[in-house]
Amino acid sequence: MQKQRGKLKDLIFLSITAVSAFAVIAISIGIFLVLFKESLPSMNKFGFEGFIFSTEWDPVKEIFGATPALIGTLITSFFSLILATPIAIGIAIFITEIAPNFLKSIIGTAIELLAAIPSIIYGMWGLFTLAPIMANDIEPFLQSTIGKLPLIGKLFEGTPLGVDLFTASIILSIMIIPFTASIARDSFNLTPSVLKESAYAIGATKWEVVKDIVLPYSKLGVLGGIGLSLGRALGETMAVAFVLGNLNQIPKSLLDPAATVTVKLANEFTEADKDIYLSSLYYLALLLFLMSFTILALAKIFLLKAERK
């Protein structure tokens, strides 16, 4: 009797935990279905290519195109990734191979605190502190140096306002450093010390060990970390919303204000008074969800493969 009651209770507990676990699946699929359903009117009206390759975003004429927002998202994400990746790997190398023990945990914690600072703080700090510095000092300086070069110089044309793609990318790059750095650090630590020691034994310098043993061995893990950072950068909202200006145009230089998918959503969602307007915003959200989900899934596959090695 007692035993049977125990079995029954066990079954109940099992079901509750199982339902909770399946909630994760339900939420993920639910998000996709809801975003898909809400964007149907816009899909029917503009189609896929007609939406993605159209630059016009005119709520009055009810014509909506995603190109400027998508380009803004891609530029800020990739530019910040280019800035952040070498630095994050450098930090990981410093923590795993160079720093004395007491510094390891201090610097490790400090870098992880960078990830803990909320994005709204990054945005506010970017708007009030970084943007003026960029507009008055750094951007004019870059214009008078790199800006004079052919081709690359084009990227730095225009009036330095501080509220532009360049500032947004810098802030994003600071925000995503910790994600790549902490995963790269974990992957570096997985390198078997026998491999490293044999390299040292034949006279390799520390840098050669890092470059020729540690980095190749942890390639997959580092790639996973970069993918994770990219996924974060694509979806970052508040930090970018402060310093990008939400201007619906295809930027000609890094010093132009622009819009990203997330910034558009944050600024216009509550203003959308017509169904097709809201539906187009949902279409943008769906595209963002698919992009970041795919990239995060790829990153996760890399990380799982790296673990299995």
């Binding site: 909770s20 399946f22 930090i91 400090a110 703080i121 506010m124 970052e236 959503l265 970041s292």
Partner: protein
């Protein structure tokens, strides 16, 4: 001679790695010092005790936003944490042999990083639109959903760290599995789970994007979760983008409080876990 060249290259490369670490520390201190410097000038008793003054007028505070933010976070925790812990329990205990558990676990890892604003849009469609208005509940549910994957994953990890022999000892006494989990496994993993909860709370406390079109904002003091309710993060966004100096000062004050809370929670969480799992 060749050896020297290699040694020099090595030193330069390692020095550059050192510089990258300085780069990270530089930004962290820059941001923190700046938030503290501006924030301190914005903090006064009125900030906590008074509700906002009409735009452009002197005085007033953010009492409504502090209370609203607390309520939203509290209910988000009440929604997200139990589901997260129970879900993590399934993955680490009952379901550990099934492939579906691995899939859920991977999916949760992905969902941790899915843009928060997407969750906001999702909740807008399923809660705000059908009810016809913004509400504190919508905000709390949005944040709760953001918490679930994080808590699921930490719980799963922490439960897996409990040695299997401990469970077998309890089984041998004739205890059913649910009792083993609740009385043995949970007890062993309590610190770890607590850390997961603290870190999840720290994460959602700073979220603004999912609240923008769920809880929205409210200029008046309100405890009613079924109406729009103010939150610190949305207020910071609104005030910082606004034209008044007074608003900026208050936004900085609120930013400082949020930052301190999150850093404190994060560091506490890390210390807890370090003390518990020190080898």
């Amino acid at each position: 001679m060749i050896l020297n060249k290699r040694k020099i290259i090595s030193s330069i490369a390692l020095f550059i790695c050192f510089l990258t670490a300085c780069w990270g520390i530089f930004w962290l201190s820059f941001i923190l010092v700046d938030v503290i410097r501006h924030g301190l000038s914005g903090i006064n008793p009125d900030l906590f005790l008074k509700d906002p003054a009409p735009p452009g007028e002197e005085g007033g505070g953010l009492r409504n936003a502090f209370v609203g933010h607390f309520l939203i976070t509290l209910f988000a925790t009440l929604i997200g944490v139990p589901i997260g812990i129970l879900g993590g329990t399934f993955l680490a205990e009952y379901g550990r042999k099934y492939n579906i558990s691995k899939i859920i676990s991977t999916l949760a890892d992905i969902m941790v990083s899915v843009p928060a604003i997407i969750i906001g849009a999702f909740i807008y469609a399923i809660i705000v639109k059908p009810f016809g208005h913004f509400s504190g509940w919508a905000g709390a549910i949005a944040l709760g959903i953001i918490m679930i994957p994080t808590v699921v994953r930490t719980t799963e990890n922490m439960l897996s760290l409990i040695p299997w022999t401990l469970r077998e000892a309890a089984f041998a006494l004739g205890a059913p599995y649910y009792k083993v989990i609740i009385q043995v496994v949970y007890r062993g993993a309590a610190t770890g789970i607590l850390t997961g909860i603290i870190l999840a709370i720290a994460r959602v406390t700073g979220e603004a994007a999912p609240l923008l079109f769920t809880a929205f904002n409210n200029n008046y003091f309100s405890l009613n979760m079924s109406q729009p309710i103010a939150s610190l993060t949305v207020t910071i966004f609104q005030y910082a983008m606004g034209p008044y100096e007074e608003w900026h000062a208050q936004a900085w004050g609120a930013a400082l409080i949020i930052t301190l809370f999150i850093l404190f929670a994060t560091i506490t969480g890390r210390l807890l876990i370090k003390r518990r799992y020190k080898e």
